[in-house]
């Protein structure tokens, strides 16, 4: 393993020092490993707390700021944060209007956020939770852990952040969050594994002529291993299961081509070109595009595609000003 790190078990703590130094507009609680806005939002507005394992940067810490999150809890690499972190963050950011927890659907994340919400209840902060589960690579079922939350989380944090900034109340914010999650579907693929620092070696091995289809963002192996194929074909393999699962033909969409961290931006744009060609063919209208590394899996090469059905209201919230290290416009 070669990485720009010191002690593999201190990667997150060390990286938070750099985030702190790089971003005067953020405040880092190093004890709890929570990233806050330096300037808290105004009283009476709903606050948003998210968090998850580290290694997905800029998600979530890079999405803290006006128009998006109020706090992000950084877990160890690929390990959900602990309830203490969410409790500290929740108490800290509440402005009297309650707090929405944005949780990606992984057993660990859900359990830790659950415990935090249970404990926060005692503290008289109203907490609601939205759990994202957009990954069509995983068969949804009542009897399993269900789908993973992946790319839609980025879009949701942006849209819901704008709603909270506008003054929407907690129930309203939660309803928008659920609408976004319901209209979002994602599919990912990996060309290489990532290397978890504390593990020291690649999580999985892939041959030079194969790729993992349906990979998640934790470097967990995907659903299927396939022979490597040109970008045009890979784009079909990403899009088909999304369109099988949800109809995107009767309204505008946001198309989000996300990099897993290790693929050059040039290739991500190339993939997006392929996706757009397919979307045109399928009669799906793209109102907004997002291309880049937003929810990553350390140095994994690969990408994921997320489609989100939107209406005028969601588009307005998407276009609203946002000012975070990871997403910034209109401000």
């Amino acid at each position: 393993m070669k990485k720009l790190i010191n002690d593999p078990d201190e990667v997150v703590a060390d990286a938070l020092l750099g985030i702190d130094a790089a971003h005067p507009e953020l405040r880092v609680d190093h004890e709890h490993k929570v990233i806050y806005r330096a300037e808290p939002k105004a009283d009476g507005k709903v606050a948003l707390v998210s968090g998850g394992g580290s290694g997905h940067e800029p998600l979530h810490g890079g999405f803290v700021g006006p128009g998006m999150l109020d706090a992000a809890c950084a877990g160890e690499v690929f390990t959900s944060p602990v309830p203490d972190q969410m409790m500290a963050a929740t108490t800290e950011v509440d402005r009297g209007a309650g707090v929405l927890h944005i949780v990606k659907n992984y057993t660990g994340d859900v359990m830790n956020f659950d415990m935090a919400a249970e404990l926060a209840d005692d503290d008289d902060v109203r907490v609601e939770t939205v759990v994202t589960d957009d990954d069509v690579a995983v068969t949804d079922s009542l009897y399993t852990a269900g789908r993973r939350g992946v790319g839609v989380t980025v879009l949701l944090e942006k849209i819901v952040g704008a709603a909270a900034e506008e003054g929407t109340d907690l129930d309203g914010v939660k309803a928008i969050a659920e609408r976004v999650n319901a209209g979002g579907r994602s599919m990912g693929l990996a060309l290489t594994s990532c290397v978890v620092p504390s593990a020291g070696e690649p999580t999985f091995e892939l041959g030079d002529d194969e790729y993992e289809l349906g990979v998640g963002i934790h470097g967990e192996p995907g659903r299927e291993r396939r022979p490597m194929a040109p970008a045009a074909e890979l784009a079909e393999h990403l899009l088909a299961p999304i369109l099988d699962d949800h109809d995107y033909t009767d309204g505008p969409t946001i198309a989000f081509l996300n990099g897993m961290g290790g693929s050059p931006l040039l290739e991500l744009y190339l993939m997006y070109g392929e996706v757009r060609r397919l979307l045109d063919d399928a009669g799906i209208a793209v109102a907004r595009s997002l291309v880049g590394n937003y929810i990553t899996s350390l140095e994994m090469a690969g990408c994921s595609l997320t489609l989100l059905a939107v209406d005028d209201d969601l588009l307005r919230l998407w276009d609203a000003p946002v000012s975070t290290p990871g997403l910034r416009w209109g401000a």
Binding site: G53, V82, M115, T203
Partner: protein, 218 residues
Amino acid sequence: MADEVDLGTLVAWLRRFDERVQDERAHLTKLDSAIGDADHGANMARGMAAVRELLDGADTSTGEATIGGLFKKAGMTLVSKVGGASGPLYGTFLLRFGSSGGDRTSLDADGLADALDAALGGVVARGKAEAGDKTMVDAIEPAVAAMRDAIDGDQPLAAAVAAAAEAAAAGRDATEPMRARKGRASYLGERSEGHLDPGATSSALLFRALADAVESAG
């Protein structure tokens, strides 16, 4: 052979579990690489190191130390230090064990079985996994059942915990062919078959540590 486990033996249990976890850290991570995200070893090692620090600082010799007090602290330590799926699950295990032990400073065979049963109940309540879902429940549930059987069969405490350890190991091995329905391995669908579950493997270490601690105390 004692027919009770006292606080010292229970502390020894946790210390032995810590040792086994640190020894097996790389192995647990390797298992998690195959069907998960390669952090189970680091998670358990971080958590049990924190529990070890807690034990180092705790005075268990005074009359004030109770099973409930100690195990709740240990459980909260896991909850606060581990994260992921294993943090809440092992944390809840110890918390419920502590609640069951309450103000007592030692447990007889039945008391121990009750506490382990409560701990298992906590894991199931938190994680909603059933037997056969390829999780730690597949090691813990048979272990608790084997212990109860042994006690019902009037076997001594040491034999009962030894039976529990063996059942946990067998339960761990039984996870290999299973298809995961809970936790991160469930994303693999049928590709999760043919691999030991990491959490079941660490749970087998937990019951092995208990048997060893009881035997040494004997």
